[in-house]
């Protein structure tokens, strides 16, 4: 009944070369990475099981963490970077509470490994809006009371932002329902969400231009 987001790109394992290339985009950490990858891992092209340094580009900033290769992007954000706007709810790619935008695409952070997110441009709710100015989507969520307990809300806001980034001409409830079909709310805030996203679309259109 509900639509699903595209599954994030999965690689069974990250090749060492791909891994280093990814880190290279983050810059500066290359030497450190080479030194810390165990010899055994080098020969088999696998990482771990111990912690490895990971460099992530989040909201335009470079963040370094040391996590086991099995750690998801979501857990890296929440447990290691104290960026807790994305929530862990289903932890299995169903509910959308952990939604972030990766290379312009809306993804479930619980279904991306942190090591696989290297070199990607990651946007989280913490990066939404500019200093002193609330992002129109967040403002519309408040105006239309598109939240109750609020635990799913950051995920909805990011999914809505992703939708308006790729289609600023959203006009119908059906379009909103299609795009946000991969996010679940338990309190039942969908009526407000439908209104908020359409209102934000109108406002962003009027203002002429997207908001970071």
């Amino acid at each position: 009944m509900r639509s699903k987001k595209d599954p994030p790109q999965r690689k069974g394992s990250v090749s060492r070369r791909g891994f280093i290339r990814g880190v290279g985009v983050g810059g500066g950490a290359l030497g450190l990475v080479s030194a810390s990858v165990p010899a055994a891992a080098q020969s088999t092209g696998t990482l771990g099981p111990g912690p490895v340094p990971v460099t992530l580009k989040i909201n335009g900033q470079t963040k370094n963490v040391t996590v086991e290769p099995r750690v998801t992007l979501l857990d890296a954000l929440r447990n290691h970077l104290d960026m807790t706007g994305a929530k862990r709810v289903c932890d299995r790619g169903t509910c959308g509470a952990c939604t972030v935008i990766m290379n312009g695409k809306v993804v479930y952070a619980c279904s991306v490994l942190a090591v696989d997110a290297q070199g990607k441009d990651i946007q989280t709710i913490e990066g939404l809006g500019q200093a002193g100015r609330t992002h129109p989507v967040a403002a519309a969520f408040v105006r239309h009371d598109a939240q109750q307990c609020g635990y799913c809300t950051p995920g909805f806001v990011m999914a809505a932002k992703g939708l308006l980034d790729r289609n600023p001409n959203v006009r119908t409830e059906a379009e909103v329902e299609q795009a946000l079909g991969g996010n679940l709310c338990r309190c039942g805030t969908y009526v407000g969400v439908r209104k908020a996203v359409l209102d934000a679309a109108r406002e962003m259109k009027t203002r002429g231009g997207r908001n970071a």
């Binding site: 099995r70 609330t134 009371d145 307990c149 635990y151 079909g181 969908y190």
Partner: protein, 711 residues
């Protein structure tokens, strides 16, 4: 002495209007911190080992390997060798470690030997329950046998409404730090003032030594009142780890297995009536289970409590599954389904419009006039007269449309609550309550009532909740919070204002009885030119401040709050008879809740309740596996909730007419979450011409019912 009443409706500046929630932006930008978001310095991660068997005896537990795992700081046994476990998911041991991954690995390294024992995990077939079913005894009123003999029509049908989970998006859990003789508890709770004492009891500590801190909670719905095993164990792990804070939240599978469910209800309901639709007799044989301890009878007949002749038999069935907790409107959804579905089936048998039948029988309810007028309002908003057809959409399309309705009721009187208002000399106003905001908008409601009382703006009030150091306020359960905090806030603000008037009266040269607080000023009644701005008035406090308490006493709420509401919901559905899929077209909710504090969040509560009802009517069900005794769908892929595309149009009408408004503030959390399930089930019966006896109305059940009809 100050008066405790609400300003007349026409004089209210803020109450009853639509206001944004004051913590809305914090939540919508991800800045709001929930207990599960905390990363305290030096924090460890906890994990639970749970039992994989529905019924077993623990033979032995070996934690030695786990203790040697990297990062592990403590391992604790919860179950002992020899102990009998009564449901899968029961807690066996707990571990803390430096990282979450290490904690989970260590749990896997604990070796437990079980002796599996026979289990029962299904209650839908009473015959198979055997000795696990305990009869509660017959309830008899009037002369049902005679009444059935005289009845002009008799209708009898089996119904079933299953166990469902709360599925709070923030799982149950907490961060706990037990250092020395002090415990800091960061829970996810509906009970800020009470949970500390509950934890203290288990830890054998004086209650005063547990400090509770909670800014936000990610859903509770009745399942988060006590400290729970994971609270107690996180505290003990913390102590065993030298006092480092320990975060222990349930993973989704455990959350859906042991963190609380709504009990089921099954049964046969037989009604006798006159040809004009007047019900004369009720007979029911029901059973229910909420886990190992069984399940009480829902309050049936529901709403129509005054049906004169009744015979009721109920059995509580004990099963080996995670136990029930209060689930938004405990036992009322079940009662509503057994009652209002039976009335709809009676109407169908009489070929009568159920709207007429429900109205005809409204005299059996405690508030006939309220229900009749609510039914009329809902029918108008649904365009019932235009759309309704007798049972079975006669159209040739495979898409069948139908309408259904249901009534509900709830008490919702305000709980005991105390509030402390502080007015500072710089004009700052603070209010402190040991309450919580479940997402219902409690913080905002407190600010509205405070600002209304002091003649200030909502943003002028600093609302402080979520600490058990604040004056005690009741747990948020049973729709009691809005009444409780509105009453205590209004009183404490009134007392504080009275004290400010004492200081300001000589300055304005008027007796304090002549003063009023309006639009950010203290002014003389009838002579508003004689005034002081709020800031100037407070400045007269000099080096002092005002601190005043106010309480809502449930036994003596005065005119500020009261109890007992009614509501009507109607649903329109479209059923695809080829696939069995039910699509929501429209739902109408007409709801009474006394004086409304914030219309915007009241409407949100009602929309949300309707959506929750759609989930429960069409999708939600805890599915148990007979072989293994485990929950088959402890994840959000197969424990289904409605998505944004599944809800159709929803129309909410809040009763704000004078006769409702005059009653004082009454809770709204539960009432609109009751009738929707039955309204939808009735609409499906009306659409396809046959009753689907068990909810949720999955495609499989709809198709099976159609097959029976066609057979």
């Amino acid at each position: 002495m100050p008066e405790y009443s609400w300003p007349p409706k026409e004089k209210r500046r803020l109450m009853g209007k639509r206001h944004d929630r004051i913590d809305g932006l914090e939540k919508a930008t991800g800045k709001a911190k929930y207990g599960s978001d905390l990363n305290l310095p030096g924090m460890l991660h906890g994990a639970l080992l749970t039992c994989p068997h529905a019924h077993a005896r623990v033979v032995s537990i070996d934690t030695s390997a786990a203790e040697r795992m990297p990062g592990v700081t403590a391992v604790r046994l919860i179950a002992k060798a020899g102990e009998e476990i009564q449901w899968a998911g029961a807690e066996i041991a707990a571990v803390s470690a430096k990282t979450e991954e290490q904690a989970r690995d260590a749990v896997k390294a604990i070796k437990v030997q079980y002796e599996p024992l026979p289990h029962l995990v299904h209650e839908h077939d009473l015959q198979k329950a055997g000795p696990r079913a305990k009869a509660a005894g017959e309830v008899l009123e009037g002369d049902p046998d005679e009444a059935f003999k005289n009845a002009e029509v008799v209708s009898e049908q089996m119904y079933g409404i299953p166990v469902i989970a709360h599925c709070c998006l923030e799982p149950h859990g907490n961060v706990v730090q037990w250092q020395g003789d002090k415990v800091e508890l960061y829970p996810s709770t509906q009970n800020v003032s009470g949970i500390g004492g509950d934890l203290a009891k288990s830890l054998e500590l004086p209650a005063a030594q547990v400090a509770v801190h909670q800014d936000h909670i990610g859903g509770g719905f009745g399942s988060k009142f006590v400290a729970d095993r994971w609270g107690v164990e996180a505290a003990r792990l913390s102590k065993a780890s030298g006092g480092a804070p320990v975060k222990l939240f349930l993973d989704r599978a455990t959350e859906l297995t042991i963190a609380g469910v709504r009990p089921s209800a099954y049964g046969v309901v037989k009604l006798g009536a006159k040809k004009d639709g007047t019900v004369t007799v009720w007979e029911s044989r029901t059973w229910a289970s909420g886990g190992f301890t069984g399940g009480n009878s829902p309050p049936i007949p529901y709403v129509f409590t005054r049906i004169p002749n009744k015979r009721q038999n109920h059995s509580a069935v004990s099963i080996n599954a995670g136990g029930a907790r209060a689930w938004r409107a405990p036992n009322h959804q079940q009662a509503c389904y057994l009652t209002c579905a039976a009335l709809e089936d009676l109407a169908a048998k009489l070929k009568m419009d159920p709207v007429e039948l429900f109205k005809k029988n409204a005299d059996w309810t405690p508030r006939p006039e309220v229900y009749r007028s609510q039914i009329d309002k809902a029918a108008e908003l649904m365009e019932w007269k235009k759309k309704w057809h007798p049972r079975g959409d006669a159209g040739s399309s495979h898409l069948k449309r139908g309408l259904g309705l249901a009534l509900h009721t709830w008490q919702g009187g305000g709980h005991a609550s105390q509030a402390r208002t502080t007015i500072h000399a710089d004009g700052t106003v603070e209010i402190e309550l040991g309450s919580q905001d479940l997402g219902t908008g409690t913080r905002t409601a407190i600010a509205i009532v405070a600002a209304e009382t002091l003649g200030l703006r909502i943003q002028d009030i600093r609302v402080k909740i979520g600490e058990n150091a604040y004056p005690p306020s009741g747990a948020s359960g049973g729709s009691t919070t809005i009444g409780g905090v509105s009453g205590s806030t209004r009183r404490s603000m009134t007392h504080a204002l009275d004290k400010l008037f004492d200081v300001v009266a000589p300055v304005l040269g008027a007796p304090k009885e002549q003063l009023e607080a309006v639009d950010g000023k203290i002014q003389v009644k009838g002579n508003p030119a004689k005034n002081l701005t709020w800031k100037a008035a407070c400045a007269k406090l000099g080096m002092n401040k005002i601190s005043e308490m106010g309480a809502n006493d449930p036994k003596n709420p005065g005119g500020l709050t009261s109890a007992g509401v009614g509501g009507v919901q109607m649903a329109e559905v479209e059923v695809d008879t080829e696939t069995g899929l039910v699509r929501m077209i429209k739902t109408v909710a007409v709801q009474d809740c006394g004086t409304i504090v914030n219309l915007k969040t009241a409407e949100s509560q009602t929309y949300g309740s309707v959506i929750m009802s759609i989930c429960a009517a069409l999708m939600e069900e805890r599915i148990m596996d007979a072989q293994t005794g485990r929950v088959l769908n402890p994840d959000m892929e197969f424990y289904k909730l409605a998505g944004i595309g599944d809800i159709g149009e929803i129309v909410v009408y809040m009763n704000m007419e004078k006769e409702y408004d005059d009653r004082g503030v009454i809770g709204l959390g539960e009432p609109p979450a009751i009738g929707g399930i039955t309204a939808i089930a009735n609409a499906v019966a009306n659409a396809i011409g046959v009753r689907v006896s068990h909810v949720p109305l999955t495609p499989e059940r709809v198709l099976a019912a159609l097959e029976r009809r066609n057979a």
